[in-house]
């Protein structure tokens, strides 16, 4: 906590080094900050775009990469057709471009692996991004903390990081993936095809070796509210639930 409070995070230039399409609506932008920084899984950066007349738009984006890598920060951005900033990334930004960013930010929705577990992670759509950083961090640290991730997407092809998540699930090292598709049938035996609810949460928790000591929920406001209620109904104490809301 004290490191977050004293960390300095001025605006700095960062260049886009690589762009990778993840799903039809989500693309990853790998950015190299001019002054690389240490961060914790779950944190975000603020991004700032400046028009020629000085007008600026800023938005927050969670970091998808693990803190254990080379300093390049992965942002996975979903395109909102009538948005201001996300369409810029999808339609205009190219490798080699510079943007401005500031970070790392946020000191609550974070999981350093020594915080332990078991951990229950619930993500809706692009809300999986900070949870992905936690899952990757766990793998990079070869942590054995039991982690269950419930990831809600509309359809199979919109499951961001799908192959990587399934590969991690297949390792059988204490990471348990549940996909729930809200507009398509389930594809894997342990998956669902409905919105996150108390029955689903209870079944996922029953596969953990013990009750979660921390739960992280991220996504749209409506998703987070509904999922938080499902966790509370499944017996997770409110004080153990941390949320990150992407706004509307």
């Amino acid at each position: 906590m004290s490191d977050a409070a004293t960390a300095r995070s001025p605006w700095q230039a960062a260049s886009i080094v690589r762009i990778e399409k993840r799903t039809p609506r989500v693309t990853s932008f790998f950015v190299q900050p001019s002054r690389p920084f240490a961060y914790r899984a779950g944190q975000h950066v603020d991004v700032r775009l400046t028009a020629p007349d000085g007008y600026q738009a800023r938005r927050s984006y969670s970091i998808a990469s693990a803190p254990d890598n080379d300093g390049v920060v992965e942002l996975a951005i979903e395109k909102l057709d009538d948005g201001e900033v996300s369409p810029f990334f999808h339609e205009v930004a190219a490798a080699g471009d510079e943007i401005e960013l500031r970070g790392p930010l946020g000191g609550h929705f974070v999981w350093p692996d020594d915080d332990g577990g078991p951990l229950l992670l619930i993500g809706g759509g692009s809300g999986v991004v900070p949870l992905m950083s936690m899952v990757r961090h766990r793998a990079a640290r070869k942590s054995t903390v039991p982690v269950a991730l419930v990831f809600s997407a509309r359809i199979w092809d919109e499951v961001i990081f799908r192959d990587e998540l399934i590969a991690l699930d297949d390792r059988g090292d204490g990471f348990d993936l549940t996909l729930t598709l809200t507009r398509e049938a389930a594809r894997r035996p342990s998956d669902y095809s409905r919105r996150v609810d108390v029955t689903m949460v209870a079944q996922v928790m029953a596969r953990l070796p013990g009750p979660p000591s921390l739960a992280f929920i991220c996504g749209s406001n409506a998703f987070v509210s509904a999922a938080a209620q499902a966790l509370i109904d499944a017996g997770v104490p409110a004080g153990e639930i941390r949320t990150e809301r992407y706004g509307v």
């Binding site: 409070a5 400046t50 201001e84 930010l105 409110a238």
Partner: protein
């Protein structure tokens, strides 16, 4: 530094410009942000306590609190996640009227706002008095919904909105400026939107 290819920004309306602090954009909706699940506080269970350090000075239940003088406040609000919303209309009890009902003058220069979910946020006492802040009970004439901090939230509209603690259940006077929940987690100790005091290291 202009960003290559970024031009079609959503500029604020010309007449609204002077009301939008640096780095903010105008929002028509009312986004919800909070660190955890939304507590559902029933008015039967609600209470509000004024404290000096650990010592309670006075405690009100919902009916007693609602019997205090109600004041209207219509203000622009500024969230640290960069949205600004114009002309939000609240009604509630001014901190001045809470102090008057308790029969005290502010005993210290700093205050910690306390909430049902354990959230805290620090505000200098002088930013709460002289009509600057209230414990709001109504938004746009209706009871405040739980997602927006109902039944009662603090309203300190001249500071970033995380200072306006949701689900508020007390004010505690402190001798020192004690950082609250977000202030311990990288956010600015004071939070003036016009000086863009978002994060700890902002001047």
């Amino acid at each position: 530094m202009a960003t290559r290819g970024f031009s079609s920004g959503r500029r604020p309306p010309a007449d609204g410009d002077a009301r939008i602090p640096p780095g903010q954009y105008l929002e028509q909706g009312f986004p919800v942000l909070s660190a955890g699940p939304t507590p559902r506080v029933r008015t039967e269970d609600w209470s509000f306590t004024l404290k000096h350090g650990p010592r309670p000075i006075k405690k009100w239940n919902w009916a007693e609190f609602n019997a205090l003088p109600l004041t209207k406040m219509t203000r622009d609000i500024h969230c640290v996640t960069a949205w600004t919303k114009f002309d939000t209309a609240w009604q509630g009890v001014l901190v001045d009227d809470i102090l008057a009902d308790a029969g005290i003058e502010p005993p210290t220069a700093y205050t910690l706002a306390l909430a049902f979910d354990g959230y805290t946020t620090n505000v200098p006492t002088k930013d709460l008095t002289d009509g600057k802040a209230m414990v709001a009970l109504l938004y746009e004439g209706e009871p405040i919904i739980a997602d927006h901090g109902g039944p009662a939230r603090l309203l300190v509209p001249h500071l970033y909105f995380w200072k306006s603690a949701k689900w508020v259940n007390g004010l505690q006077f402190t001798t020192r400026d004690e950082p609250g929940f977000w202030e311990l987690r990288g956010y600015h100790i004071y939070g003036d939107p016009w000086r863009e005091q978002r994060y700890t290291d902002d001047p």
